[in-house]
Amino acid sequence: VSPDVPGGWNDEAVPAPAAPSLSVQTILYGHGPDDLARFLNGLGAAVRVARREGALGPVGLAIGDCSAEPVVPADRLATLADQVTSAGIGNFEYRFFGENLGSAGGHNTLFRELGGETVLIVNPDVYAMPDLLAPLLERMAEPAVGIVEARQVPLEHPKSFDLATGDTSWASTACALVDGTVLSDLGGFDHESFFLYCDDVDLSWRARLAGRRVVYEPAACVFHDKRLDPAGQVVTGEAEVYYSAEAALMMAWKYSRDDLVEEWGAGLLTTGSDAHARAVEAFRSRRADGRLPEQLDPAGDVAQFVGYAYARHRFAYDDE
């Protein structure tokens, strides 16, 4: 599929005067042009609908590319820019990093260079519901809200949340709206500690320690390309097994749960896979080298460790 998109979307190009601006950030790694085209189709419709409803002002899109080779070759950049512009997105940046910075590092780089009043952090394997943005922006306007998470289909995250207020332990940045001041005040994601997973849990907990609310908005819906195997388990790759284990140990350390560091480390070594064992060794190596982050929340005011999860869950995707 060519990233070309049918035109005719420019009728909503004039932003409402008082509507909030939005910076959209996504990080590519090994994706193809079709993936990017699909992502832009969903985002473009969401921008158009929110713009038509007067809920959205100027929009910028920043794409960071951590792939080994550029997903968008130089000779296709103009076409991509046209596609983005036709979706009513005024500013467009494509940055090929030339190295894998990880999701957290990529987002930090984009935000550091481009900034943003309100930032939509979103995965490129997400397809936005046309009605996505207005509910997110409305929630963000509530007092003290710093991060608003969208609901994912087909596999919704099982975290519990307050049905009345939407408040929740942490927000998945597969698709989340983040107040720009949260990112700037907190120094963005802790990409030194969290390469691929739990960077969003950590950002959420630091935001809450700073007095900001993290809320879940089920009316804001996105499709996230996650899949099930015939046993009903979520399909995961080797990298996810390794990095989620490493991130779990880092979370336990950073949020002052030395007991869990020891318990989880021992458990992963005795009952886990080879990937788990490598993750434990990597963590211990960092600890020996003094490369662990400063410990936070010693009284456990914010951090929630429930089993191996970072919130109470309504259900578990496996039968644990």
Partner: protein, 337 residues
């Protein structure tokens, strides 16, 4: 197979039929279709008639990207049963296959791609993917209504398609299947079929018997249960029972394709049936013998009772009554000492 049916003018490989039975949500099924990894399909949304319903659904469609919305048509069922409308939709499209997505449900991103990969070399056969189901509630956070899941998804029928099970015990859901278009367009489904669940049952039975079933092994469909799951369809429904018999009778008069292993299964079931019949005969014999024994015992008891009654009615029994009373009195005095 082209991945861009619009540019070549060729019909798409697949038509997704979204059934809006009972006014369920179509936005999320459409979202999941818009997010597919292939564009080689079009979409027909079937809606039941009602004031403004078609217009409302068309508004939902129009909010999506033109890349997707231009491949979607909205059709009213015009008061027909949904099965009739399904056949009409099948006659209008030119795709090779038709697959159902019910309102409120969602498909995974590789739903269409999985069918497309399984089709070559399996023309005329049903393509079967796996269906997971999940309980959901309706959340009302922030005054807006949305689904929220309350339990993990579970595969409904993870094993291979079971034709005989579908016929007599556990109906296979229509969801998760891609059906050759001619099966629906050719009105192979008996017109007597009237109830919604039986429609599905008959469509699956017909398609599977006419061409066979090819398994993809992939979980590509999520059936979301907002309330109690729908019943199997034909139990306890006289009209449904009659329609079921009609479907079986109609198919019984045609040469059909049976899947591999069916003969062995039929033999095993015949042996099992014979064993059960023999057990029934044995139990009936045992029951009859028990009844006969009980009858003999009742006769003996009646005869004994008659003899006792004769004794009590005799003159000698009445004349000796004071003697028996004195004896009881004497035993009572002795026992109190």
């Amino acid at each position: 197979m082209s991945d861009d049916p619009g540019s070549s003018g060729a019909p798409p490989f697949l038509t997704a039929v979204v059934r809006n039975r009972g006014g369920g949500d179509v936005a999320e099924p459409l979202l999941s279709l818009a997010a597919q990894t292939t564009r080689d399909f079009d979409v027909v949304v079937l809606v039941e008639p009602g004031d403004g319903v078609v217009g409302d659904v068309e508004d939902v469609v129009a909010r999506f990207s033109p890349d997707f919305s231009e491949r979607v048509r909205v059709m009213a069922t015009a008061g027909d049963a949904m099965g009739g409308a399904l056949a009409a939709a099948a006659r209008e499209t030119r795709s090779d296959y038709i697959a159902i997505v019910d309102a409120g449900d969602v498909v995974f991103a590789h739903w269409a791609e999985t069918f497309a990969a399984a089709a070559p070399g399996n023309e005329g056969r049903v393509l079967r993917s796996l269906v997971a189901s999940q309980q959901v509630d309706v959340a009302t956070a922030g005054g807006r209504v949305a689904y929220t899941s309350t339990d993990r998804p579970r595969c409904l029928r993870p094993g291979p398609f079971d034709l005989l099970g579908h016929v007599d015990a556990e109906p296979e859901p229509l969801l998760g299947l891609a059906l050759p278009r001619e099966v629906l367009a050719g009105q192979s489904v008996a017109p007597e079929v009237a109830t919604a669940d039986l429609e599905d049952w008959a469509v699956v039975l017909t398609a599977a018997l006419l061409g066979g079933v090819t398994e993809t092994g992939e979980v590509t469909y999520l059936h979301r249960l907002v309330a109690a799951p729908p019943g199997a369809g034909r139990a306890g429904d006289r009209r449904g029972e009659d329609a079921w018999r009609s479907v079986v009778a109609a198919l019984g008069g045609r040469p059909l394709t049976l899947p591999a292993g069916t003969l062995v299964t039929l033999r095993d079931r015949a042996l099992e049936s014979a064993a059960l019949r023999a057990e029934v005969v044995r139990l009936r014999d045992e029951r009859d013998r028990a009844r006969e024994e009980a009858g003999l015992q009742a006769t003996a008891r009646a005869e004994a009772q008659g003899q006792l009654d004769e004794i009590r009615a005799s003159a000698s029994w009445r004349l000796s009554a004071p003697v028996r009373s004195a004896g009881r009195l004497a035993r009572g005095v002795r026992d109190r000492r």
